[in-house]
Amino acid sequence: MPKAYIAGSGIITCIGNNTTENLSALRAGASGIGEARFLDTRHQLPVGEIRLSNEQLAERAGADPALPRTALLSIIAAKEAWEPLAGRAKGLRIAFISANTVGGMDLTEDFYASFKEDPQTGDKEKVRFHECGSITTLTLKALGLDCWSTTISTACSSSANSIMMGARLIEKDRYDIVIAGGADSLSRFTLNGFHSLMILDKEPCRPFDEHRQGLNLGEGAAYLVLAGDKAAAQLGVRPAAAVTGYANANDAHHQTASSPEGKGNQLAMARAIRQAGITPADIGYINLHGTGTQNNDASEGAAVSAIFGHSVPPASSTKGFTGHTLGAAGAVEAVYALLSIQEQACLPHLRLHTPMAALHWQPVTSMKAGLVQHVLSNSFGFGGNCSALVLSAV
């Protein structure tokens, strides 16, 4: 069975506009959480906002500043991943899988405000990109590709699932290359929605801390270029890692809360590890979903304990750096998992003051060098969707 090698990657988050900048910030322990500058909101809630206006993003993306912010982020990360390889892909079968939850909501909410005042006003151009699928189409066009594509929307596990689907298409030899990932920008819609659920921390988030108060929303985009071995050779890359395990399961418990024992989380982790052909003891680092909500961290913590018993490997959540980037989170953290393998180090966990009393293990708080052959990355979402990926050094 062909393996889904990682031939390229691209990322933009509030801690960096590309892969190198993200790695530097992770090394330095520099969080990107702060006050919103570009999101027009009356709430004083910290967010992981990318410090560029839409005009600045558009310039970097080489795109129209009138596009949804999610599309601009998506194009920047997708171009970083794909452009170095594009010239060598002649004759290869390419597919594109993207994921997001917010679509063109940022523009829709601008439109809607004036439309509500007077149905005769409001620039209808602004709602053209409302649906999630439009972000995929815009990104594909910006990459200059005309290939099969789809858009996955499974809440906060969306882009982990797009990578999972991408790996599957490579393994089944449907395509030679799949560019897979996702994007989401901040919007008032999501900020107010999460606020109404009362799961936003008014301070920078503290995942896996006994006194955690909730999550911070973030924004970002990330993509992996997955390629079979022949395609990787044609692209002239020597991959450092491959996606070797992936699984998703439904917790079948509650729309916005995980079951106390993290049943779905356990199923996803166990299946992904089994599929990679390894055992839990082979995992060198876990990138936790770790949002900072009471419920997520309690149930994910219990699920990790159940799978790994008394030998939990070094684990951390990187959401203290980026905030929760929703539909982009799975891909953002897959890029971080790749960095962990490339650097042979576990990524640090921020703002842990009081470890959770219910757990016999706690996250690693500094960038720790160590043998990292296999990384497990968790992504869980509303609707009970639990996904896990295993990336392995090759």
Partner: protein, 201 residues
């Protein structure tokens, strides 16, 4: 692989395995799921909290999932696409933001919540995929479902496409497994195309 049951829903008409099942004489789109729910005699109070997309997907699943499921629920997958997603509740949530944003509405502003409702109802803990696509994609769906049934330990799969916005209710859900049964149809791209073409306008 075989399609054991299929459910086709067009506006106020619902048929199963090609035979009329329910019809509702409703004046508005949003009334139709409620009327059909009552007509079917289902008792599941959470139904009334759902958004339009989840209501339609939930009811379609009620009628296409067999009464007795001969498969391990940890290995039952759900794969559903939608073009219009949850546009209806997006609008209602946005309107609620003028006052106090409603958490009860916000929850439904994600299309995959319809899969969550189905999985909670039936206890399905297998793989689930939710894609946003203007049209049903028989090639993608057949790849996705076949791969799960043949290579990933999935024992049965609920799959299809759902559209639910003001003025348009259409759904086609299928119950598929690797085991043959009496009257089952082959699960392949041609059958999918035929079922989707006769459901979606």
């Amino acid at each position: 692989m075989y399609i054991h049951h299929y459910l086709q829903w067009q506006h106020d008409q619902v048929s199963r395995d090609g035979q009329p099942l329910f019809a509702a004489a409703a004046t508005s789109t949003s009334e139709i799921p409620q009327l059909l729910y009552r007509e079917a005699g289902i008792s599941y109070p959470k139904f009334f909290k759902m958004d339009l997309l989840s209501k339609v997907a939930f009811l379609a699943a009620e009628w296409v999932v067999p009464a007795v499921v001969n498969a391990d629920k940890n290995h039952i997958a759900t794969v559903v696409s939608t073009g219009s997603g949850c546009l209806d509740v997006d609008k209602r949530f946005e309107e609620s933001r003028a006052g106090l944003a409603s958490p009860a509405l916000f929850v439904y502003t994600l299309p995959n919540i319809m899969l969550g409702e189905i999985c909670i109802r039936h206890g399905f803990k297998g793989e689930q995929v939710c894609t946003v696509a203007a049209e049903p994609d028989p090639a993608w769906l057949s790849f996705c479902v076949s791969d799960q049934l043949q290579h990933r330990g999935t024992e049965a799969c609920l799959c299809g496409h759902v559209e639910a916005v003001e003025g348009r209710l259409e759904a086609c859900l299928l119950w598929v497994s690797a085991q043959p049964s009496a009257h089952a149809m082959r699960f392949n791209q041609d059958t999918l195309k035929q079922l989707f073409n006769t459901t979606f306008t």
